[in-house]
């Protein structure tokens, strides 16, 4: 399957303020009405962007200075709600390769891992520092080193956390799991064979 090995993610940052950013906001449900993930990049945060436009603001995803950014910086409980993989798919197709946030919702975190989108956490103050930096200087380049557990930015180095198995999965390119699950399939059959509900009790 040849999944990429991911250790270093380097690029400009896109700051997205707000706790509990739910997947309905990241990818409104009407864009799930498709049999492919193609084109989802166009609809990331679509309703929030329209709302910003209406009230005379520019949403970070419409801000020309953040075009081409690859590291999203978010706050608490990023990706809450629906299990729609369309949310991380849309972000990744837009160009996001890593997300630094205070915390993540569990299903979003897992879905992101499955497509090689690295989610790392940082302290509240470090997230604030990274956001302020990106707001002050959108050209600032961040460099996340998963192995070292740091995110370097001009004038600062902050510690980022990622569970060991997630880091190893990304670094070894094993985030495409199906092949792994199909290995040693006799073990799977052995487990199935001892389940009472599969053998008429």
């Amino acid at each position: 399957m040849g999944a990429d090995k991911i250790q270093i993610i380097e690029g400009r940052a896109l700051p997205l303020r707000g706790d509990d950013m739910d997947t309905d906001r990241i990818m409104p449900a009407r864009f799930l009405k498709s049999i492919t993930f193609e084109g989802l990049d166009r609809h990331v945060f679509e309703d929030d962007r329209l709302e910003a436009k209406r009230s005379g603001r520019i949403h970070p995803f419409d801000e020309p200075n953040y075009r081409g950014a690859s590291i999203l910086v978010g706050n608490r409980n990023f990706g809450a709600g629906s299990s729609r993989e369309h949310a991380p798919q849309g972000l990744r197709r837009w160009g996001i390769r890593a997300i630094v946030a205070e915390s993540f919702a569990e299903i979003f975190f897992g879905n992101s891992l499955m497509i090689g989108l690295a989610c790392v956490t940082a302290s509240v103050s470090d997230v604030e520092n990274l956001m302020s930096l990106a707001e002050r200087d959108p050209t600032a380049v961040l460099k996340i080193d998963l192995k070292a557990g740091f995110c370097q930015a001009p004038g600062m180095t902050v510690r980022v956390s990622i569970p060991d198995h997630v880091r190893d999965t990304l670094m070894t390119g094993a985030w495409d799991t199906t092949g792994l699950l199909l290995d040693n399939y006799e073990q799977v059959n052995a487990v199935a064979a001892k389940l009472p509900y599969l053998s008429g009790f």
């Binding site: 449900a29 009407r30 993930f37 569990e106 499955m114 487990v191 389940l195």
Partner: protein, 471 residues
């Protein structure tokens, strides 16, 4: 030291620890629907894989199906495309499909239990976060994304990290007018919408034990709104009685053996928990959300909070979206739409509770009210009892089964900044299909009350006028 149900189910279904660390877990039942599967089937085709266990995979259509005018092809070309795609995939890979027109069609989390597919001690997965619903039966049920749907289709397994268990004991009697929905909304409000991250929630205590299966499903359904991917109730006589006689339930002597095994899967009395929380049922009131996530809720007799403290920014943002003033009472807020349905509260007992409020009354002028049964089976049962006439006579629309207005993927949507009293599960911005639509989550009885009065109303006031007869 005893074990929790989660540990027992986990140990039984564990294939191995993967070289990368997570557990490879066998999935006993895979439920699929039209929205989160087409891309997964595409990968199977590209790689030449078969579906590992078509005998343990069941499909239905719910998210995008219209709840009226269901003749094919659907008016919505994209919806038609998705349904056709699922039909083709089920045909090609040998998976049973309960399609539009089939008596078994309905919301995936309503039909699994109805058909007896959902059973204690199982692992269950579905590409939908409300899969936690099935935990009401003492199953361990995971909401998964499309890449994991691909994994389950191809291998009948997922790679997953072990979960901690938080026991939430609800003790004492629920006051009149306080329902399972109020219990789970209170839990979410108290523990936070991210509070369940990394946990499975085990719901216990005498209030939970007295609940019907429908009520337990409502509680487990919204575990994910509390951040917990998995929620469950230990199986007991209520569970077994519900399952007995259903199409996929074990029959005769096998049922007796199943029952013994199911009982053995319940958490042991001396099981250790990673966390323990107690909720006193007597303190609970009917709950309404005032904000843009399911944790932003108050008692119906309460006031919308002031934007203060560490959450100042999110509170003021939510208030401005909802068009509410800090400190304003939530009761009396005008509603435009009343929606009774969804995997949270679209079952027969939910319709019973709503009908008690509605009977002999009229929907307030200017309110659009609709009832959407969670499955064809719920619909038919309700119609046999004449509930459809009760709702229609009161001015409600009576629809066909589907997810409907819960999520804005089918023709049932809010318009503009309409306010909707909803028995569903999410009040996120734009959730009900209009980018500026506003959702107030509450119990089906509270939605019925709001439909009749046209404003957010304390259902306990109306219940006094209705002959007693419920718990």
């Amino acid at each position: 030291m005893g074990k929790t149900l989660l540990q027992k189910v986990w140990d039984l279904h564990k294939v191995r620890t993967l070289p990368t660390g997570p557990t490879q877990l066998f999935i006993g039942l895979h439920l699929i629907h039209e929205v989160t599967t087409p891309q997964a089937f595409d990968v199977l085709r590209q790689r030449g894989w078969r579906v590992a266990r078509p005998d343990r995979t069941f499909a239905t259509v719910d998210h995008i199906v219209p709840t009226r005018q269901r003749q094919r092809p659907f008016l919505d070309v994209m919806a038609e495309d998705m349904i056709s795609s699922l039909e083709r995939n089920c045909r090609d890979f040998g998976i049973p499909l309960y399609d539009v027109g089939d008596e078994r069609q309905g919301i995936v989390h309503v039909i699994g239990p109805e058909l007896g597919l959902t059973q204690p001690g199982m692992t269950i997965a579905c590409g939908d976060s409300h899969t936690s619903t099935h935990g009401a039966f003492g199953a361990v049920a995971f909401g998964i994304g499309t890449s994991q749907v691909r994994d389950v289709l191809a291998s009948q397994c997922i790679a997953i990290e072990p979960l901690k268990v938080r026991r939430i004991r609800v003790v004492g009697r629920l006051p009149r007018g306080v329902y399972a929905k109020d219990v789970i909304l209170t839990i979410i409000q108290r523990l936070g919408i991210g509070g369940g991250n990394g946990y499975a929630y085990e719901y216990a205590g005498d209030a939970i034990e007295r609940m019907s299966m429908d009520e337990r499903m409502t509680v487990c359904n919204m575990s994910i709104e509390g951040g917990a991917r998995v929620g469950y109730v230990n199986p007991d006589e209520t569970t077994f009685k519900y399952i007995e006689g259903r199409p996929f339930a074990p029959q005769g002597e096998a049922f007796a053996r199943a029952r013994t095994w199911w009982r053995s899967m319940a958490s042991d009395a001396d099981a250790a928990y990673d966390d323990d929380v107690e909720i006193r049922a007597a303190e609970l009131t009917p709950v309404v959300t005032w904000g843009v996530n399911p944790g932003q809720s108050i008692g119906v007799d309460g006031k919308v909070p002031l934007a203060a403290g560490t959450d100042q920014q999110s509170i003021s943002d939510a208030l401005s979206y909802m068009g509410l003033r800090a400190g304003q009472p939530i009761a009396g807020m005008k509603v435009d739409v009343a929606f009774i349905g969804s995997c949270t509260n679209g079952r027969l007992s939910d319709l019973h509770e709503a009908a008690r409020i509605v009977r002999g009354q009229q929907v307030a002028k200017g309110v659009k009210a609709l009832v959407v049964p969670g499955s064809v089976s719920v619909q038919k049962a309700a119609e046999r009892e004449g509930l459809d006439a009760t709702f229609r006579d009161a001015g409600f629309e009576w629809r066909d089964a589907g997810c409907s207005m819960c999520l804005g993927m089918n023709p049932d949507k809010l318009e503009g900044n309409q306010v909707c009293a909803a028995s569903s599960n999410r009040n996120f911005k734009g959730r009900q299909g209009s980018p500026t639509g506003r959702t107030l989550l509450m119990s089906p009885a509270m939605v019925a009350a709001a439909a009749i009065t046209g404003v957010v109303t304390d259902v306990r006031e109306l219940l006094e006028e209705v002959p007693a007869g419920v718990r």
